[in-house]
């Protein structure tokens, strides 16, 4: 959306009104602030700021909802889908979304998200998948990719020892209660644009009372991947995208 300002100049971007002016503590090159800003934009463009409630999980991104000018309920590690169930069931007119990481959702709280999806809970879950526990300093999660070296898998993830990572969007999509499931990423401008559209579709599906909506977003974690910040997008493209295809799985 561009607005002509003057003399043929177009304003194509500004800070979403749904964000507060507040610094965050994320590392250089982290993808989570981009994902958070996309959520802020989706909320702004759908005009749901007054009704939006975030239930946040525990991870690096835990502080990110405090950059959003919306109500927030902080949940325990892995438990956001259950907390969101209590919120949405008692406030059906609100627009509820969970913000969870892969350690939070896929490692600690897998059964919570699967049950919420199977019940067809009419809320949205955003999974920030950076293939590792970032907050603890780079450790293996259930989505760390094959061969990935972490502080708890120094020789690399291998199938015999650690099994293979879980593809969440593909796991969730076939469940009957799920109305929308997609996987985006924030490593290229094109992917960022597409991911915002996925988020808006997911929220719209909730607004239309269609049931559970799920958006997985691959995010860079150069600190947890032990690379330079500027190498993050390429690492994501080379190591994650082959295993985690970027597409819509259910619409």
């Amino acid at each position: 959306m561009s607005v002509e300002v003057k003399d043929g100049m177009f304003k194509v971007f500004s800070k979403p009104s749904t964000m507060v002016e507040k610094s965050h503590h994320m590392c250089p090159g982290c993808g989570e602030p981009i994902a958070t800003r996309l959520i802020a934009q989706a909320i702004e463009e759908l005009d749901i700021q007054t009704r939006a409630i975030c239930t946040a999980g525990i991870g690096c991104y835990t502080g990110m909802p405090s950059t959003l000018d919306i109500d927030v309920v902080q949940a325990l590690h892995g438990r956001a889908p259950s907390v969101a169930t209590g919120v949405k069931r008692t406030l059906p007119e609100s627009v509820v979304f969970c913000l969870q990481g892969d350690g939070d959702m896929v490692s600690e709280g897998l059964q919570e998200v699967v049950h919420a999806a199977a019940r067809g809970e009419n809320f949205t879950i955003v999974l920030l998948n950076n293939a590792g526990f970032g907050e603890t300093g780079g450790h293996l999660t259930a989505t760390s990719v094959p061969g990935q070296r972490t502080k708890s898998s120094m020789m690399g993830r291998n199938k015999e020892m650690h099994g293979m990572p879980i593809r969440m969007a593909e796991l969730i999509a076939p469940l009957e209660g799920v109305a929308y499931a997609a996987r985006g990423a924030v490593h290229t401008p094109a992917a960022i644009g597409k991911t915002k559209r996925y988020l808006k579709k997911a929220f719209q599906s909730q607004l239309d009372n269609k049931g559970f909506s799920f958006v997985e977003i691959l995010t860079m974690c150069p600190s947890g991947w032990f690379i330079e910040p500027e190498e993050g997008p390429q690492w994501l493209q080379d190591k994650m995208v082959p295993y985690y295809p970027l597409e819509e799985f259910k619409t």
């Binding site: 309920v73 902080q74 949940a75 907390v83 008692t90 406030l91």
Partner: protein, 363 residues
């Protein structure tokens, strides 16, 4: 006079919760609390509330967390082992100042430590309310919701299998809670012309991670509760040489045995029945210990509440534990331990040793 209903204790507690304004329930079947789940899943839709069949106790308590964060009165009921599963959430709900009622229809009385020592991690307390009958259960559910809202935190409601499964006459009374402050901290889906609200255990709203300030406030609150919310029932304390302390449904057996021993044998025995297990009714136990020859404790466990009695007595008189566990086919550890004859014999032996001064009969 209000209408009386013949009800199982579990159903009485559930109906009292509905009448206290509980509009969200999450449960998972486990003996002996399953009847509350059955009642709630049928009753809640009639009053426009929500009752969830949670897929696990952990999911259930976190659903309650979310519902409570919207200002809805919310409850979960379970038993013993499943309460253990919920402890991380209960602990952080205490830190996050999220009001809810957690009912433990416990197996025996062996969850005393779990209930009164927190059970989870961190520097927190939960108010623990222990009724001894279906009627008192119904009465105290309203108090539990009131205290949860007043002090903003989870309140444990500690029943037992006897309370849950005994059918008694119950009438439902209105609980006065007109002095409760408005819930101006909840997320209500109406963020219009007001600052955002953040309901979090990590720190105060809008000041995420301000943990020190938060702890200070929480600790101050717990001190105040400890001073002002001690509740108990007592009898025959004026002339008593021996006072028995017992809680929950089994305390009724103790009271009955004491009445018999006084009337038939003239033994000067009184009783104290803690209604709040935390805060423990320390003041009355301390005062009593200054004028009696001994205090006895009957509880259906291996000796847990006796520690709180000793902390209150501080050596002023001897404290004896005459409760215990025994085996029965139900696996609830009750068996012969819970009979008036067994309890009478125990109290009489204790009286003869501690008051009359006969040779040691009590182990």
């Amino acid at each position: 006079m209000a209408k009386k209903h013949l009800m199982e204790g579990a159903h009485a507690v559930a109906e009292a919760a509905i009448q206290a304004g509980c509009r969200f329930y999450a449960g998972y079947p486990i003996t002996p609390s399953t009847e509350i789940l059955e009642y709630m899943t049928n009753r809640m839709p009639q009053v426009g509330g929500v009752a969830m069949c949670a897929e696990s106790e952990i999911e259930g308590i976190n659903m309650v967390w979310g519902a409570a964060a919207t200002g809805t009165r919310a409850m979960i009921a379970s038993s013993s082992t499943a309460i253990s599963l919920m402890q991380e959430s209960i602990a952080e709900m205490a830190m996050g100042q999220i009001p809810a009622v957690v009912v433990n229809m416990s197996r025996g009385q062996s969850d005393y430590f779990q209930a009164t020592r927190g059970g989870g991690h961190g520097d927190y307390r939960t108010i623990v309310i222990s009724p001894s009958s279906a009627q008192e259960g119904a009465d105290l559910v309203g108090l539990a919701f009131y205290l949860a809202d007043k002090y903003r935190g989870p309140v444990l409601f500690m029943g037992d299998f006897l309370l849950g499964h005994t059918t008694e006459a119950v009438e439902f009374k209105k609980f006065d809670e007109s002095d409760l402050p408005p819930k101006n901290w909840v997320v209500d889906g109406k963020k219009v012309n007001r600052p955002r609200r953040i309901v979090t255990f990590l720190g105060d709203s809008g000041k995420t991670y301000d943990y020190g300030d938060h702890m200070e406030r929480s600790v101050g609150k717990f001190d105040r509760i400890q001073r002002t919310e001690q509740r108990y029932e007592a009898g025959y304390l004026e002339d008593a040489d021996l006072v028995m302390v017992a809680f929950g449904f089994p305390s009724r057996f103790v009271k009955y045995a004491i009445k018999q021993l006084r009337e038939e044998e003239g033994l000067k025995i009184g009783y104290i029945r803690p209604i709040t297990l935390w805060p423990y009714p320390t003041d009355i136990v301390r005062e009593t210990s200054e004028r009696v020859k001994a205090i006895g404790v009957y509880e259906m466990n291996n000796g847990q509440m006796v520690e709180d009695v000793r902390l209150a007595v501080e050596g002023r008189c001897p404290v004896y534990s005459i409760g215990g566990i025994s085996q029965d086919s139900s696996g609830f550890g009750v068996g012969s331990a819970l009979s008036v004859e067994h309890i009478s014999n125990g109290i009489r032996r204790l009286y003869r040793e501690a008051v009359v001064g006969e040779e040691a009969l009590v182990r």
